[in-house]
Amino acid sequence: MLLNITEKILARASGKNKVSPDDVVFANVDKVMMHDVSGPGVIAVFEKLKKTGMKIEKLWDPKKVWVAEDHFVPAADKISAQNVVLLTQFTKDYGISKHFKYGMGQYGICHTLSHEEAMVLPGEVYVGGDSHTNTTGALGAFAAGLGHTDVAYVLLNGKIWFKVPETLYFKLNGKLPDYAMAKDLILKIIGDIGTDGAAYKTMQFGGTGVSEMSVEERLTLTNMTTEAGAKSGIIEPDQKIRDYLAQRGAGNYNEIHGDANAQYAKVYEYEISELEPTVAKPFSPENVTAARELSSIPLDKAYIGSCTGAKLDDLRAAAKILKGRTVKIRTEILPAAISIFRKAMDEGLVKIFMDAGVMVGPPTCGACCGAHMGVLAKDEVCISTTNRNFPGRMGHVESQTYLASPLVAAASAVTGKITDPRDLK
């Protein structure tokens, strides 16, 4: 029987030779992540268990646990400040040494750290207390988000149940044109299959379109599989992944690859060489249309940030547009991790942004989830490189968010209206 990469990873993790879609496996977890929202949630679950008389003296393996501070940092208010204190005490009590703290060197959005810091490696089973945990599947790992109770369970036991998902295979032919990015492509795909089009399925990407794509661009594809309801997103590791991880000091891992001619529940084929810049209108990521169709939409803000749209390649794309130009609307660029912020400075990107009049800020999930650090007012309209545009996602419930690539967001910042980068004078 031929297995695809997801089936092989789950078989390996549950000590089996083979698994099939719909099998339930009790898989050993290799890495688990929580952040400053799911972490306190997990702590609440622990407290409840303790009240029932359960003794929790140690975790299954503190070395396999890592923690990010990203949603409410810099501390949005007194309660968020207190939550960071709580989380810090937890990591201290249970001996978790990989806690990326705001204001102490490297920190950033959890999903960005997962690849920037090589926290997760090919072939691993990785779970996290956040729905966009799927992102890290681009490294060739099985990566899936969990609720707080499930994360608490993994912390205690190192295992979790999975129903082996069916895999939808997206074969991407050709190479993206220079005015389109992985973001345009994944929005197009979500528009085609819908926000529940991959519910409890894995979305796997392959073909020349993927091999030509940078590692960071691949991460944009897997990041947004969540928006199609997918259990996970995954890409087979190749030399680009090996080089990327080697640059980050990781070389000791066992890659897993699917069998040639493995089975998929469905195969979708895309010719991507002439992909149009694509935008998702409010209030759903599936509500897509060509950027050019929306050129009359006036904007109040452009946002280039988040795990989806503030990796180094995203910032380079924005800089390509913003170089020598100035923005016409309020524009914020928040690199997704401090390491990326530093590279952006070293490459001169931050200077380009500031010369253009952009506000450059620290890594945070704040504005993407409408929590703090630049939320939208009633009736304000934003173009954003983030991943969700549900009602109120980025602020007031009557604000509006259009999802776009960094190229489209930067071009729109310059004109003040939704703009296809090809139409920028």
Binding site: G41, I79, S131, G147, T149, K163, G370, F390, P391
Partner: protein, 195 residues
Amino acid sequence: MEPFRRIYSIATPLDKVNVDTDQIIPKQFLKLIQKTGFGQYLFYDWRYEKDGTPRKDFVLNDSRYKGSVILLARNNFGCGSSREHAAWALLDFGFRAIISTSFADIFYNNCFKNGILPITVDEQALQKLFESKSEIEIDLEKQTVKNDNVSLQFHIEPYWKKILLEGLDDIAVTLKHNDAISKYEEKQVSNPRSS
């Protein structure tokens, strides 16, 4: 947790598709870390005016559905953020069961962990339930949903059925029975979860 056997209640009809967890419990309440007390913030932005007065046109404020413990929802309920606060808020408000044509995966699992029964039914049955005003009986032992218009059986994994029927804590149970689970799991092939 309180055992779930049979409930009998009118249902609150929430006639919207793709209701994401940020609508269920908006982001500003995620900072609160106790597991109880979220019910007052459930569907906050839809439920209250800016000045905090209840919005008359929102179904949770409709006196006809007061005391209802069953929520009728549309496709892809619970999509978006993985925040378990969404399940906490629904339970704290009083909902013990949600009936829909489909649920987002992480939310679906979070429900069982907090004593809420998510029931997946087909489009036609759901429509009938939305159109009917009569009380609904959900019997978990028999796996049935019944009212004047509808009588159907739903699917639930045997494990979750047991957890809900006995009001057990998922973590405590699984830690106690790790070996047995591993043995069971080696033999077992699951059924698709939708009925």
